[in-house]
Chain length 479, copies 2
């Protein structure tokens, strides 16, 4: 939140006036900043020395204020991690201190400050390592893109999104994901949920098959758009798309073929064919949520399903995993007959998104910066994954790990009935993570498997060994 | 579209192969680029000399290809304006070559290329001069903002939008618009229509009063959100808010108090008071659409209505008129009890917008760049307005002009029954503009006034004298 530590106090507009002197004023001002959300949870505060210098106070005054706020639960202090804003409970309706309400992070429960089990590291699935956002390369692309952009780019743009980005994506998706893309059939949207909502509304009311393991907020988007969801069982070959043929009135199937979320298996080639054959014969659509298809480590990426039949498969991609969720840029590659209905809905003016980042991403793709960034991230995630697998093989060989050929998370199988206890134990070790049952569609008849979903992308490098130690301490011993 | 003329051919991936030689190949490739939308309407093509050099062709080959495409109606060539992509009719459903479908521009009808009445200048109300977007200052702000941003800013953000921007806006709105703002009551959205839609849904079903002159797509947003609109007459003192007290079941009134759109009058102080008094006593809300409140030329801006009663007035502002519609950044300052319902709706993940431009705008505001830009634009628009008023006074003194104290457009009163003919005449003079009747709520009992709505912000400086000449030729002579 502060633009730099040196200007922390000024940028936060800390007002130290009022009764009780400077120490009381600082406590009050910091408390207000936390309460109002100007200081977000987990923000690291400057050292007492530097804040004191910045505000012209004695260092002890600041140190005392910090100590008081730690005692009150507003801040936390930990050796090596500095003084940080605490995650707080939500007495006020949860505005200021909730975690984001969208994206996979929306599922997380805020935890009470000051409890010994406050997680220090976030291993919940769904977020990429945003600390690796390529700021310098992005700014260079922005400079090129904004300098070259025609004036009309700054005006009202078409609902489909900037043609520069649609053209760059068509090239990229053909090359990297085997998508048969045409800029005219690409519609840009502000994240996957918006695309899914637009498409669902364009399909009209009816039923849609969804994988029995997945994200509840995706099911919620479908329901709000007027579709009824029907669970499709997931096994070691991915979603059982053979069952689609036996379902009545299903208009579409939402799948994660490249890397089932969260179990991590790729959809078996026979199941891929079954999905597309069903769509063709039933006049339905397969929605391919290709959320992390680029992060495949041990062999070539599994090609996007859309290449099999662009008239019956909608390809969804996003910049959230590959670059940053903050961009809110995702894309749909649509069958021709869905383009106009989707643009009609998007053209109401309520769904538009900014064009400048679209222009920048177009340059980022065309200049090769995107490929360079992905190569770097793939190496980084792969190293993380290898460390996790090696640690488990050495110190917990009884724990089977799966879903590791791709993506940013792994699934650790647990003995039946232990999942909740292990999640709790991990929390006591300072790790936020979730059990597989968290992702199960509650309406699915399929029985629960006990497993942990472990995302390994976000902890900082220097702490990853400690994170693995903590995880291993939380796992049940061999029987 | 091309990132520079020097790389135009390469960036467009012009494929000159195929039957009939290079000239035929170039014609085919350019036609495809226009048809597919890769070359947008009105894009200026490089000179035949520079495209020839870029593609390694003889200059005559390119000149011949341009001439052929002009003859076919794909391109237009005009002295002084170069070769440009034509606005085309829409045989294919209108995707590639339609004008934007949202914002005021969405109301415009595409015109056929090659007809003698093709408008060369756009005087329709609703767009700012986007050619004046401060690219360099914006990029400098982006560099500062992205360099200083905490890592979490690149992750999933809260539905309210970045706290940096909400804080900067709270300061700015208090100072410049008299808004009693608090960052916690500001919700950022992707343009005014999104904010209006979110708020309407939060209000729940019921009736809403709207000015009898306004934008039809605003009424459409309200209707889609489940509200029934009730027209409120507009006269020389603005909307007649005294009538609100006599309307049953009205939950809110959508007004443009600073500068009624499109008639241009500020809301009379008595009417301001009547609106707020009604909201207070009826438990309703006034929605203040402050779309161009900063552009006031002859005296201090009319303060935002919200300052009178922050618990019953919602303040809406936007960066579309002051910076660029392409940003898709607007804001609502909400009464406390509407904050949670609005965030609840926005938090579904379908409405989120990008955070990087929010961070950049926060820096742009806090660094003073926004004030500098507004000062420059105010001078520029004011000069334009003065030229228009002077030309009318000198050469058409019988035409009364109003609504000129603020904003980016003026209203020219016409003799009864002449409006449509004048709009047509202006089109023959190469000007796209609209009559006042275009903005009248068709359900309003109020009779039509004949008038022209003339936006003067967008024509380039060097052509503005010519635009005024053309406008004067279209006006009816004195009786």
């Amino acid at each position: 939140m502060p633009s730099s530590w040196a200007t922390f106090g000024r940028d936060l507009h800390l007002d130290l006036s009022g009764p009780g002197g400077r120490r009381a004023g600082l406590i009050r001002a910091l408390r207000d900043a936390v309460r109002s959300g100007r200081l977000a949870p987990d923000t690291r505060l400057p050292s007492s020395r530097s804040l004191a210098a910045d505000l012209g106070l004695a260092r002890n005054t600041v140190a005392d204020a910090y100590a008081e706020l730690v005692a009150e639960g507003w801040l936390t202090a930990r050796q090596g991690s500095g003084t940080r804003v605490a995650w707080r409970p939500l007495p006020d309706g949860g505005r200021a201190s909730t975690r984001p309400r969208t994206g996979p992070a929306a599922r997380r429960t805020p935890v009470r400050a000051g409890r010994p089990d406050r997680p220090r590291f976030d291993l919940t699935a769904g977020t990429a390592d945003v600390s690796a956002f390529p700021r310098t390369a992005w700014l260079a692309a922005a400079r090129r893109a904004l300098t070259a952009a025609p004036s009309e780019a700054f005006g009202y743009n078409t609902p489909a999104g900037r043609p520069e980005l649609r053209t760059a994506l068509a090239d990229y998706l053909a090359r990297a994901r085997g998508v048969r893309a045409d800029p005219e059939r690409i519609v840009l949207c502000a994240g996957f949920p918006q695309g899914l909502s637009l498409l669902s509304r364009a399909l009209g009311p009816g039923r849609i098959a969804v994988e029995s393991y997945g994200l509840d907020f995706h099911r919620a988007v479908l329901t709000r758009a007027g579709l009824d969801t029907v669970p499709l069982p997931v096994d070691a070959h991915g979603a059982d798309t053979r069952q689609l043929a036996g379902l009545d009135d299903v208009r579409a199937a939402l799948l994660t073929p490249a890397h089932q979320f969260p179990t991590g298996v790729p959809l078996h080639p026979d199941r891929r064919a079954a999905a597309v054959n069903w769509a063709r014969s039933a006049g339905g659509y397969v929605l391919d949520d290709d959320y992390d298809g680029e992060f495949r480590y041990d062999r070539q990426p599994v090609g996007a399903l859309q290449g099999l039949d662009p008239d019956h498969v909608v390809h969804f991609g996003t910049a959230s995993k590959n670059l940053a969720p903050a961009l809110r840029i995702a894309w749909m590659v649509l069958p021709d007959r869905l383009v106009d209905p989707v643009l009609e809905l998007k053209g109401t003016g309520e769904w538009q998104s900014g064009a400048l980042d679209q222009l920048t991403l177009a340059d980022f793709l065309a200049s090769g910066a995107y490929d360079r960034h992905l190569r770097g991230m793939r190496l980084r995630y792969r190293r993380r994954r290898d460390q996790l697998v090696a640690a488990l093989a050495e110190r917990a060989p009884h724990v089977r790990v799966s879903g590791i050929a791709a993506g940013l998370h792994a699934v650790l199988e647990l003995p039946p009935g232990t999942e909740q206890a292990v999640v709790e134990a991990a929390r006591w070790q300072g790790l936020a993570l979730e059990g597989l049952s968290r992702f199960r569609d509650p309406t699915a008849p399929q029985p629960t498997r006990d497993a942990l979903v472990v995302a390994y992308g976000t902890p900082p490098d220097h702490s990853f060994t400690g994170v693995l130690d903590a995880l291993l301490r939380a796992l049940p011993p061999a029987l």
